[in-house]
């Protein structure tokens, strides 16, 4: 699993780490059961705080993409829809980042998404 982070990016480091894992699950390079590196060693390698890594891992747990397993640490979940879910979460994160960059506030983002719900048939259109 490849992790790339840029400290001076506007995206928080924990979110950058989570995005790397989502990407790896989405493109199939991280398969179900694959172990994430222990937070401490990943933090050491990337030169970031352990809590930053743990915050990223916690997000992934909340999203249902990874789970804690006794003796194996944090692993990619076995659910078959994990790659699809990871792709969806990546799109959502990109949508929010794009909207924030344009100065759109959170209320507006929610309204924007729900306005698409009645018309969209499935595939999201071009950005």
């Amino acid at each position: 699993m490849l992790f790339r982070v840029t400290p001076d990016s506007p995206v928080p480091l924990g979110e950058q780490i989570a995005a790397c894992v989502r990407g790896a699950i989405a493109d199939g390079s991280a398969r179900p059961g694959e172990r994430l590196p222990p937070a401490r060693s990943l933090a050491g390698s990337l030169g970031v705080n352990v809590h930053t890594v743990l915050r990223g891992y916690q997000r992934l747990r909340d999203e249902g993409l990874v789970e804690l397993r006794r003796g194996r640490g944090t692993v990619v979940t076995g659910r078959t829809d994990a790659p699809g879910l990871a792709r969806l979460l990546t799109l959502a994160a990109e949508l929010v980042a794009e909207a924030r960059a344009l100065g759109v506030d959170d209320e507006e983002i929610l309204r924007l998404v729900s306005s698409q719900l009645p018309t969209a048939a499935g595939e999201p259109g071009p950005p």
Partner: protein, 322 residues
């Protein structure tokens, strides 16, 4: 033509392994037939450090054991040679030619010392046979080593290599676990065998077996990490053992395919001329060429990404990246 030279090298190597084994089997059989009526029913087969007999077998069991050893050894080395490539084949040919001289000499000697004795406990093994057998084996092995030659240089197959361009200030890490099914099965078999030993009260072999099973089991899964310090292979959560190639000594990294037996003669931590590595299975592997020429190989999935990142980090360190 490289292929023809290579096929000839393989045929010659196989002859160097098979012929000494056939010769050893032939001589042993001839000696056994010749002295058959002069051997006692129980023969001395094991000797202590001073050459005094301390282990005994029936005459038939000794003959079966001796022939079985040579046949099994010849088959195993023959298969290893057939699948071996480049420097591995040369090493196997030397071992395959020298070993039957050593084991054959010892087996024939242990037959001969039992000739015309009434009580097998009186049998003594003259110790000067040991250096003679060793020296003879080493000489023949050295001869085979020279005869086989290093083979065509072009046999080192090129791998896939790319460079991951890193942004200035960007940190990047690649990490993956790799397991060995062969070693897990081996650990399980040893574990079961040692539990049986313990159950029947054989404490020493049982405990030794348990220890071996734990060690092999622990080595069956390793972690491979590429980061700003270079390449590290370790066994989490243990801090040691740990193998590393510092980024400063990385000349080039590439993704290759390895055959565990053909390229490295087996599984585990392997050293062979020109390369060392952690080979837990056959297939995709990361190969790092170091400054100074020696290569380090570790079998791992997604080796393309690992190689690209390692090349990118090394390029940035040399001031080429960005």
């Amino acid at each position: 033509m490289a292929e023809t030279t290579d096929e000839r090298g393989r045929g010659r190597g196989l002859a160097l392994v098979v012929l000494p084994h056939l010769a050893a089997i032939g001589i042993l059989t001839a000696v056994a037939i010749g002295v058959r009526d002069r051997l006692p029913d129980r023969v001395a087969t094991h000797f202590d450090g001073g050459g005094t007999a301390d282990g005994f077998l029936s005459r038939e069991a000794l003959l079966a054991l001796a022939l079985g050893t040579l046949v099994f050894q010849g088959l195993a080395l023959g298969v290893a040679l057939w699948r071996g490539r480049g420097p591995m084949r040369r090493l196997t040919a030397a071992l395959g030619a020298g070993l039957p001289v050593f084991t054959g000499t010892l087996l024939v000697t242990s037959l001969l010392v039992n000739v015309d004795v009434a009580d097998p406990t009186d049998v003594r093994l003259p110790l000067w046979w040991l250096p003679v057998a060793l020296g003879g084996g080493a000489l023949v092995g050295l001869g085979a080593w020279r005869l086989v030659g290093s083979g065509p240089r072009t046999r080192e197959r090129p791998g896939r290599s790319s460079v991951l361009r890193l942004e200035p200030g960007e940190s990047a890490v690649w990490s993956r676990h790799v397991g060995s099914r062969v070693m897990r099965i081996a650990a399980l078999v040893v574990l079961l065998a040692s539990l049986v030993s313990l159950a029947v009260g054989e404490w020493a072999p049982g405990l030794l077996g348990l220890l071996a099973a734990v060690v092999v089991g622990a080595l069956a899964s390793v972690r491979v990490t590429v980061d700003g310090s270079g390449l590290v292979v370790d066994l989490p959560p243990l801090p040691r053992p740990r193998l590393s190639v510092p980024l400063a000594s990385v000349a080039e990294a590439e993704a290759v395919r390895v055959d565990a037996i053909g390229d490295f003669g087996g599984w585990g931590y392997r050293v062979r001329p020109g390369a060392s590595g952690v080979v837990l299975r056959s297939g995709e592997a990361l190969r790092v060429r170091r400054e100074g020429g020696r290569a380090f190989v570790v079998t791992v999935d997604d080796a393309d990404t690992a190689a690209a990142l390692l090349n990118g980090l090394a390029a940035r360190r040399r001031g080429e990246g960005g």
